[in-house]
């Protein structure tokens, strides 16, 4: 079971609202390479894993991804405060706003609601870990794209932290793969 800690893993303090950036960054929560999918992928893959070390890394990375959901949601929340209808229209945030207002909803930047088809969970554990390695690379690439589109240093500070975590997770999953191969699972 889980325990909640009332703090973000890395601080999010954004000075300037920016609805256009919010509409892009929402994909890091509910898009195909987002943190919700990441958490669901790893936490659901754990059960049939044959080695405690691999279960451990999936548990702990999956739990960290729950914290990343909260960071991404905090970024979107802070980017969408005190918006006027004109700002919402000008920032292209109107399609999101009409359905959710400024509430947090897990969807991709193109408006597709979170879809579990973006994750995989196979009893073939090498297939699952290979999926995880790819997922971390895809998420890192998504954060690279966000950094290309954002010139807000407050946003970029948090996004760079999240991007770096994808790299660490990729490395740990690589070691999980070696554990499974060594034990010939």
């Amino acid at each position: 079971m889980w325990i909640y800690e009332k703090s973000l893993q890395h601080p999010v303090k954004i000075a300037n609202p920016n609805p256009r950036l919010a509409g892009i960054i929402i994909t890091a929560l509910g898009g195909p390479d987002g943190e919700l999918g990441a958490a669901m992928r790893y936490l659901n893959q754990r059960y049939t894993m044959p080695d405690g070390r691999v279960i451990g890394i999936l548990t702990d990375v999956g739990s960290e991804e729950l914290g990343h959901m909260e960071m991404v949601a905090s970024i979107v929340y802070q980017l969408t405060r005190n918006l006027t209808p004109d700002e919402i229209r000008a920032g292209g945030f109107d399609k999101y706003y009409v359905e959710h207002g400024a509430a947090i909803y897990p969807a991709s930047a193109s408006g597709v609601p979170f879809n579990a088809m973006a994750i995989a969970s196979k009893e073939d554990n090498l297939a699952s870990i290979t999926e995880d390695l790819a997922a971390e690379q895809k998420a890192r690439a998504m954060y690279d794209n966000i950094l290309r589109l954002s010139d807000d240093p407050d946003v970029n500070d948090a996004i760079k932290f999240l991007r770096q975590r994808e790299i660490v997770h990729f490395q740990r999953f690589g070691e999980a793969m070696e554990i499974l191969k060594d034990k010939k699972f």
């Binding site: 754990r46 059960y47 049939t48 044959p50 080695d51 405690g52 070390r53 279960i55 451990g56 548990t59 702990d60 034990k183 699972f185």
Partner: protein, 128 residues
């Protein structure tokens, strides 16, 4: 500290668990409420942890919508005091419930069983 802790005869000063519970008759009948945990083995400790952390969860929900309820708040403080004691005792058995409770020379966090394993290991799935 572990072995000593387990063999300690009494820690009399510990706050009794749930002194003023509303269901004391039932508690006496089932024996689920005690004033200390000295005689509990590992399984009994874990059962007690499950009970008290459920009490804790229920109180947290109640207090979220009744943050001014002093009775519930005192009950909560008693509960988490007792839980802290239980977690400390349980960690001495070398099967930590939290990663931060790992003790000793190896990272026993990754040892089987995990909560969904029925038989203390990975059920017929190739665990050596």
């Amino acid at each position: 500290m572990n072995k000593d802790r387990l063999n300690k005869s009494s820690d009399g000063g510990k706050a009794p668990m749930i002194r003023n519970g509303t269901n004391t008759n039932n508690a006496q009948k089932t024996g689920t409420r005690t004033t200390n945990f000295d005689n509990l083995d590992k399984d009994a400790l874990f059962t007690k942890i499950q009970e008290l952390r459920f009490v804790k969860a229920e109180l947290e929900l109640y207090l979220d919508t009744h943050p001014g309820c002093r009775v519930a708040l005192d009950y909560y403080y008693q509960t988490i005091d007792a839980l802290r004691d239980l977690y400390e005792r349980y960690s001495a058995y070398g099967a930590p419930l939290f990663a931060s409770e790992v003790q000793g020379d190896t990272w026993s966090w990754v040892d089987n069983p995990w909560p969904w394993h029925r038989h203390g290991g990975i059920d017929g799935r190739g665990e050596e």
